[in-house]
Symmetry: C2
Subunit: 227 residues, 2 copies
């Protein structure tokens, strides 16, 4: 008796769900929500077309399920990363270098684990840049907002010599640069005549931390000199 036949219906359903989610994740990342049909997804997943509707009812629920599968883990790791960094410097304050790394490391680590995480990031970034009131945008907002605010506050505390608004601008730029990297828009990389890309996570983390921490440190220094 073949192994497959031993599995319960519930197990088979779970595997089908997973296959559909994996295929959807990959395709939505590549071509966007509207650029992918349910047929594309079930074909790649090697399951019947009707099963996408059976398991996820409508297309909107499917992409929500794709996002939910990863979002909570990412949020959890972000919070822990920040808390660990703050704790490590107690009773002092974390530096800008510490904080940039705490912010960026969780996502970079996940992307290094495999293509699924990279696809997930591409999806949420791509969708945020379109309709900001769609299901997925609202979902990710509700998951990440509070966590990002924790980082903003931590950076403000770490830069008492810089006006809050100027700190916020720096973080706005950091955030923009980072999600651009994560969504793997190779627009810039293509332009450099250098065999090596910009994808090595350790190097990326180091350069990101230097660029933005030095930027913030420079703002403090410029202000100190003026007075």
């Amino acid at each position: 008796m073949p192994k497959a036949a031993l599995r319960s219906n519930a197990d088979r359903g779970e595997e089908t769900r997973r296959k559909i989610l994996d295929a959807a994740e990959s395709l939505f990342a590549e071509r966007g929500f509207h650029g992918v049909s349910l047929r594309d997804i079930t074909t790649l997943a090697k399951v019947e077309n009707a099963l996408a509707s059976y398991h996820f009812k409508v297309k909107d629920h499917l992409i929500s399920a794709v996002v939910l599968r990863r979002a909570e883990e990412h949020r959890f790791d972000l919070v822990n990363s920040l808390e660990a960094t703050i704790l490590a410097r107690k009773p002092g304050l974390p530096t800008n270098l510490d904080l940039v790394k705490a912010y960026a490391r969780p996502a970079l680590e996940k992307i290094a684990r495999g293509p699924g995480w990279a696809a997930y990031i591409k999806i949420i970034v791509g969708i945020q840049n379109l309709d900001r009131n769609n299901t997925v945008s609202l979902l990710t907002n509700s998951i990440y907002d509070d966590t990002i605010r924790l980082f903003v506050t931590a950076f403000e505390r770490a830069n008492p010599g810089v006006p809050k608004r100027s700190v916020q601008f720096s973080l706005y730029f950091l955030h923009g640069a980072f999600i651009h990297i994560l969504s793997q828009g190779r627009t810039f990389e293509r332009l450099i005549d250098d065999a090596k890309g910009f994808q090595d996570p350790a190097e990326l983390l180091e350069e990101l931390a230097n660029s933005f921490a030095f930027g913030l440190d420079g703002k403090a220094r410029a202000r100190a000199q003026r007075s």
Copy 2:
């Protein structure tokens, strides 16, 4: 006799083309290429459905026309902006502050002119992040690549004390942050409890220049201290 009747057929055609292009620009920016139908476009433009096909043949040509309408002007202004900056410092070299401003100012000025330019930027950024081999991506690559390379070279010259690769990383981040700003992803802005947004072009330019120029200056300083 009403004014409209005096116009030639060619003039009427030109106006129809413009109305379709305007509507398409706005909608593609909002929902992406696949998220918009030709019917959506002609409805917003208040023209007959068949006219989109008559004037642009297929949907692909239409979005290409939307992009081409603005791309050449932007490229031209970018080149001039860089040349003027270099000329102004001769026989010395432009500073990082100069160069960041030269890079960012043309787009910020255009966006301030009206919603059309902002939509154009959103379209090319959004499409680059999906299929990198579609018509529009190839089009914008061929238009912008050489110009961006000019900036890369100028930055490398302005930072002899920093390894080229580290300069390139900084520009990678600058580019990412900037196109994130331009594509108006308000993901970050929404998080700050501050009545004022991050949209004032003059303030944005100043903060952007400070953040990234200080970042590069800091890299040079750190390197000098180490040796």
